[in-house]
Symmetry: C2
Subunit: 517 residues, 2 copies
Amino acid sequence: ERIPFNVKGISSIEDISILRITGGGLIGGFDILHRIFKVLAERNINVILITQGSSEYSLCLAVLPKQTKIAKNVIEQELKNEIRDNQIKEVLIENDLSIIAVVGEDMRHTIGIAGKIFQTMGENGVNLVAIAQGSSELNISMVIHKKDLSKALNVLHTKIFKPNKIECNLFLAGPGLIGSNVLKILEKEIKKYPDDSNIKFKLIGLADIKGYTFNKNGINISNWKSFINKNVIPRNEKKFIDEIINLNLTNSVFVDCTAHDNYVQYYEKLLSSNISVVTPNKIANTSSFELFEKLKDITKNKKSKFKYSANVGAGTPMISVLQDLVAMGDRIHKIEGVFSGTLSYIFNNLKEGKKFSEIVRLAKEQGFTEPDPRDDLSGLDMARKLLILIREAGYKLEFKDIKVENLVPKEAQAAKNIDEFFEILKKFDDKFQMRRIKALKQGKVLCYIASCKNGKAKLGIEEIDSKHPFYNLYGNDNIVAFTTDYYNENPLTLRGRGAGAEFTAHSVFSDILRVLK
Amino acid sequence: ERIPFNVKGISSIEDISILRITGGGLIGGFDILHRIFKVLAERNINVILITQGSSEYSLCLAVLPKQTKIAKNVIEQELKNEIRDNQIKEVLIENDLSIIAVVGEDMRHTIGIAGKIFQTMGENGVNLVAIAQGSSELNISMVIHKKDLSKALNVLHTKIFKPNKIECNLFLAGPGLIGSNVLKILEKEIKKYPDDSNIKFKLIGLADIKGYTFNKNGINISNWKSFINKNVIPRNEKKFIDEIINLNLTNSVFVDCTAHDNYVQYYEKLLSSNISVVTPNKIANTSSFELFEKLKDITKNKKSKFKYSANVGAGTPMISVLQDLVAMGDRIHKIEGVFSGTLSYIFNNLKEGKKFSEIVRLAKEQGFTEPDPRDDLSGLDMARKLLILIREAGYKLEFKDIKVENLVPKEAQAAKNIDEFFEILKKFDDKFQMRRIKALKQGKVLCYIASCKNGKAKLGIEEIDSKHPFYNLYGNDNIVAFTTDYYNENPLTLRGRGAGAEFTAHSVFSDILRVLK
């Protein structure tokens, strides 16, 4: 990552212009060059940078803006015959440019220096108008657009003088349960810099339900609540996003911790503008397959990344393990999983003979469920997670193609409030018990499983025996099993805790780190 | 990965020289430039490339070698006063250089082009002596050393005209059980190119127990046995490695499928020479911690990678999942695992009440064990795998620090042959049964587990209950459980088949793909 040489300094000239002299007359027209430099010298015009590539009908000279017009005039005057004969074209001028020069020692003998410098520019969206690196060991000069100068100087300084240091500019929407935990992690990380961390995180923008705010120097995270309250601009997602893009900061990451879809429509624009998107929000990946594919395609040739590890399994790296399998040429034939901490907890307790309604109540009391437990019991959230894994596995599938067994009995679906729901649910305890005992007699247990095999995706209660990798699942662990070309007899199984706002926040933070890698 | 613009062509001049004119006189010495070009024009000296960076006391001119001396003479003659006054230094000449020019359309308006071109050069170890990119849209010129020209042209052509295509040059040592399976996979992959694969694999070098051979156009893999028999150069590891380095090919990967340590001493040299090393061989990672650390350090700032996924868990991505946890800032407090398909099989069958010696015999008959099953039962191979995970987790540990319970009874260790070994082992069947029954009474099963907690690493038989993630392990699955800051109540568990030459070969091949990513 670092640029491995002894740089003495980075110098820049904020305002320069380029004169571009083109035409076949430059090739073999041995005397044209000296005539150009002669007339420039006569007028005391300082040529700051010269480049002429091989096999090129073009000479490029950088001069100070105040000398541009006169330089153009004297060159055109001197070459008026060649211009008349179409050997040389009119001298073109480009303004609003800057020069950055990286000056160092032994730059020539270290491989890859130029590549790393220019790569840094490219990754940060800085266009190089002209480049000159002489064979001396001293200088790499770049002509860039003036609007990019401060960003370019910033990233070069960081890359060269703090070779292991990175600056990361964050924009977070939705400081709710997960979002506020992400902010807590960031608060700790910011304190670690520079001694115990190489990444300088700055929270530049923050948006909540009421509005948004920016601080280019970084919002004081310890105090984000009062900062946003004091400085709020009324809610406007479009303006918030536009401002993020206009700021044009290096290593920008937009973190969508909202549960709604207001920002999803802007992911594409952000990613196209070199801004990464990190989110635990499943909406983008579970909308149309078209959108899923489009977001993947955009990031293929971009530095910006779209990361959503927390979409499935909270923090368990189910998505990344699956992505790796696919990338290595393995084919996924079957996916099975329990992707809900709540449903895992319910069925793990059911094994021990407890009443279904009691378990659900206990889960709610411990905060394992949504405010209305029916949102967990419906299986829909787990179905969305299955959909994401299926798509990652390379299959084109829509949400409507998944068959979902709703654990909420029809009668209870209509219940007007939670109390009424629990009253109705009690009536179904015996039904669940009978099902459990029937399975037990065959040495099996019940498990609510999401699966996809031969293109058929479904969620429902299954009876599994002791050889099934989910047999001794417990607590609120999530689990996934991939059956593939290579894991054909026994699946590859990954298991870990699948719930907790702190845990999910760590997963979001890990995605931010992955983006920076 | 691709270079996103319309390149019309790549041209090169094989043989050029550089004249370097330096000195303070160039700054503000407005008339020096035109005097230089005047005298060059008078002598009909064609200046192929010019660069002068900003704030640089240096002008760099590329000319044809036959004109170098005269160019130097006329310039020095013209500037003799400036040279006398130390305003300009003696003109320096550099020979044995080439120029490559990438000529295209709209190169200027696509961000990051220069970076990608120069990055490609750097990654392939091509040093850039001088660069000129004018502000026209036509040309990026690079002066490089002549020895690098063919490699540079090759990688640029691939990168630009086959933007998604990669060439990978492989060198394989040890075409034994795993190695020959790697070759089988490669044979299939080679046939896929270019329609179904973007990677053009070439097996350039092959070494077996008798000797080695090279074919720069790629050895016909379908026929590798007869090829190496016909073309063998007597065994000499050092010469084999030196030749790999001298070939200086792009995307070179050395695949060490031997079971011995003859090549381990060359890993460092290979990695330093931009050649990746992929191996299922555990020797490098289980020797001194110093070597483990050194190999990690070398690849930090190199394009070359050291990959050894098959070291632990055959193909199960235990190492990569662990590396990801560590990279994301999680801390590993405890590692537990079963890393031997053989020992997994033995204890999974023991659960069912079979006799220990019978299970071992069955395992041997099915080819699950080493030729001498004592090599599995000793626990040493599994201890080596634990050592690697511990080191990946960030702990400094040596092999001798691991306490290993040898499952081979003392008496049987001394047995002179396998038959005698089995005879003695039978005597211990009752002892294993008693241990099993004692555990069963507490609802537990026996499992041979490798673990590390609080810096203490050990391997031995443990009694585990149904809440332990290894309780219902079966077949010859491998399993690992990481207890970390975030996976603190229930560990993160990864399970999958842990044996099979084909499976291990796929893991080796996956590492080759990872290197190319």
